[in-house]
Amino acid sequence: MSGQHIHAEPTNFFRKHVFSVDHKVIAKQFLWFGLIWLGIGGVMAMMIRWQLANPGEPVPVIGSMLFPRTNGVLDPATYNTLFTMHGTIMIFLGLTPLMIGAIGNWSIPLMIGARDMIFPLLNCLSFWAMFLGGAVGFISLFVPLGATEAGWTGYPTLSTTINGVGSGETLWAIAVFLIGASSIMGGINYMTTVIRLRAPGMTWQRLPLTVWGIFLTSVLNVLFVPVIGSAMLLLIMDRVFGTTFFIPASIMQGAGGGDPILYQHLFWIFGHPEVYILILPAWGIIGDLLSFFSRKPAFGYRAQVGAMVAVTLLSAVVYGHHMFTTGLSAMLGESFMLLTMIISVPAEILFFNWLHTLWKGNLRLTTPMLFSMGVIFVFGLGGLTGIYLATIGTDIFLHDTYFVVGHFHLTMAASALFATFAGIYFWFPKMFAREMNEFLGKTHFWFTVIPLVTVFCLMFVMGYAGMPRRYYDHTSAEYLRSLQHLNKYATHAAFLLGAAQLVFVYNFIRSRWWGKPASQNPWEVGTLDWTMETPVPHYNFKEIPEVFTGPHEFSNPDIPDGKDWISMTEKLKA
């Protein structure tokens, strides 16, 4: 720990802003990168919703610009591309960089009292690997025959050359591989940093929950992202070098002899932990924020940490519930059903503790607090609907319908997104030394949460009524035509949701450059990041601080000067 050097601040523009190894700069790079991709993915979602509500009608405003060949109409191939890339972008290029890249990079060293990540160069590499992945993904949108159309899950043999011979799918696999490499680099860095660089006195039990969440996510990243890496490599080999890992003998007319189901196992061995990769930091963040803004210690801190660790462990053994209809044997099916049900125990512990943290608190309803409470609500909806999908009997009907779409959007998308927004609103004053507008923030929250819940609850209804997902046009089948009205409602709500994000964009940009200068600790919390000066100086801490209290000592009667919070570097009375 004494080995944390301080190098002189680079003066070269490239070294300072582009290829910087400073975790704060990298966090901001991830932030901008993620926000831009979030915007792109969001626009794609809007186009998808437009098509679903008005099948075959030209997309207004941007349609004729983006799709001149069809006069602005989305053709089914473009539609498939859109929902595939929407999924990929949102997960790998939107939420991952924001949640893990930006918030992780920003908060870990500051919260544990370190001068930087333990491997600053690896950190830089991690961002640029992801940037490269994003660039490859972006390029894949413009190759002949278009980008991938095989869904974000990219199941073979649809994703092998059996179906498409264009290079879009290959580039997609390369992009996912690169992003995976970035995640592994980040994961190793975060894990090591948390283990090695905690300030004196920052015991594991004083670690803020945010750091716990990101730490556990990093563990999952390092363990399971290699699996998707291998799946992508094999897919690339199948596509480029003519191997047949995932192409069965029968459609090779006897040659080869791979198995497309093998890919599904590989994908979901990664894919289910990926859900927790996105949700664990969210849980950590809101575990902290609920405590911070209730002015009350995090209820059952150890139980929360224990629950998150349990989820981390269990997440590896439940992946089979994604594959109940692929023909798993009865034994496997029942095992996975049971294990999936068991994972709800830690989730219930977390819910209980969050709600108990709020109970009899002194709630400051700031924007980050609203978003944190929003996470409880939307994750509650999403988590409970998971029971339907964990139960084979109901999953058989609901699998690959809009019910699933509603479910995973509420859990891994909306919850993670809300926690990300909470995090951005929360750390913005420290990051950019300016305050975000609270009124706009609250407007953003209410205009996000209401349409969002409307959209995805309507999707539950659609799925329950039997509407399969990934359909270009639900008016094509008689059976689905009577559900089209639900699509219209959902699209109206989705547009409102999209419009609400403009409030955020406006607020973010205005506050970034023209916002009110922030004080050192506007939220009055005691974690190390808030007890340092604003803006954060180069190499964070001139002196590595020493920690004496936990992160959540709010309203402790032993706090010296009548405040309801205490810095972690201060000592309590007596």
């Binding site: 053709d75 089914p76 592994i184 290699p226 699996v227 480029v240 029968s250 040659a255 198995d259 046009d473």
Partner: protein
């Protein structure tokens, strides 16, 4: 074990190893065709033994394709004028290196002389840019059934009957034209409509995309065949004129039954739908005439279509059972009956039967479909009535 790369490799190995053992334990079920002798099959070098890789997507050279003649061009222009549109073709004497050509949005049409054959024919120039666009759309949308080379033997096209069109055979069943080859508009209509009861779906593609695909499909004609054959005739869709039975549909159905079993003798190939006791009356034959065995079943017919070099046979539809491919309205059925189905035993009836008979047939067939198809009780009643006479 320190570097992420080593970790990645190790973990992937473990994962794949585990799953391979799953595979070995037959967790995923068995392969239906795995029992066949693989080495034998590879030795035969089946057309798609390997997934396609490195498929060319760009066409660098344009091509001349046969086009309908000046008569058609003038007709198209008049049609557009009637609809209040700009004429479709403009004559530009300076186009095509000053040789003069008719120009429209798809390129230009020129009358050209074949010295060797001493023959003048109309040819359309299709440029490489359009062919490339068409090629790409074709690969993306059509190749899974029609094959990457348009040989009608894509992966999803195998084992499929009726088999997907092999564009190198330049024969099209449901284009509803009298000549060998259809006009672009006829092909476009077919692609947009699809064929009922087959994987040839109604394609939700833009007009421009379909135009490009059509040009590309035409360019798949081998040398001296189809659109590369100067002697080929290109025709427009058979126009259904005035419906002589409008308002008298019931009479049309009755008359259609007479035509079907009488003068047209459709039951030579299709099933008969009247009691054999009534047939002699309709056909003006002695009472004791014996008709073909299985009069209530269709007869398998030869066709000109080939799959892997072998001619396939085609079963004429039983209208009370099979799905009619190209439309079930009297209008559609009229067009199909009048123009025949290319490459099959179904001849063109236009000119051989009066318009009234043709429309009556269309109404009768439509009635058969409506009354009995997918209606088990009704169909059972019909079959019982028919068998009484046997």
């Amino acid at each position: 074990m320190r570097s992420p790369f080593t970790q990645l490799v190790c973990l992937a190995t473990v994962a794949i190893g585990t799953l391979s053992s799953f595979k070995a334990l037959n967790f995923f079920g068995s392969d239906p065709r795995a029992d066949e002798d693989h080495s034998q099959m590879i030795a035969e070098e089946l057309p798609h033994a390997r997934p396609p890789r490195g498929v060319p997507l760009t066409i660098t050279e344009g091509t001349w394709l046969r086009a309908p003649g000046e008569e058609w061009i003038i007709q198209q222009n008049e049609l557009a004028r009637k609809q209040g549109l700009e004429p479709r073709f403009t004559e530009d004497p300076s186009a095509a290196d000053g040789e003069g050509a008719w120009i429209d949005s798809t390129g230009f049409i020129q009358k050209r002389y074949d010295e060797e054959e001493d023959f003048w024919a109309y040819w359309q120039w299709v440029g490489p840019a359009q062919l490339t666009r068409g090629r790409r759309d074709f690969v993306q949308f059509c190749s899974s059934c029609h094959g990457l080379d348009g040989d009608g033997y894509g992966r999803s096209g195998q084992w499929l009957r009726p088999s997907p069109r092999d564009f190198r055979q330049t024969n099209f069943k449901f284009t509803k034209v009298l000549a060998n080859l259809p006009t672009d508009d006829a092909l476009k209509r077919l692609i947009k409509r699809g064929l009922d009861g087959t994987p040839m779906l109604p394609w939700d593609l833009s007009d421009e995309q379909i135009t490009d695909i059509v040009q590309y499909i035409k360019s798949l004609s081998p040398e001296g065949m189809g659109w590369r054959d100067p002697f080929t005739g290109i025709g427009s869709i058979v126009e259904a004129g005035e419906n002589p039975w409008a308002g008298r549909e019931n009479f049309a159905i009755k008359h259609g039954e007479k035509v079907y079993h009488g003068v047209a003798q459709c039951m030579l190939c299709h099933p008969g739908y009247v009691n054999p006791r009534d047939l002699p009356g309709l056909l003006d034959q002695p009472e004791d005439t014996v008709y073909r065995e299985n009069l209530y079943l269709p007869v398998l017919k030869d066709s000109e279509y080939e799959v892997l070099g072998e001619k396939v046979k085609i079963l004429p539809p039983d209208f009370t059972f099979h799905t009619i491919r190209s439309g079930q309205t009297p209008q559609d059925l009229y067009e199909t009956i009048a123009s025949g189905i290319k490459g099959t035993a179904m001849p063109a009836w236009k000119g051989s039967l009066s318009e009234e008979d043709l429309w009556a047939l269309a109404y009768y067939v439509q009635d058969l479909v409506e009354e009995y198809k997918d209606k088990p009780a009704e169909r059972r009643g019909l079959m019982e009535r028919l068998r009484e006479g046997l």
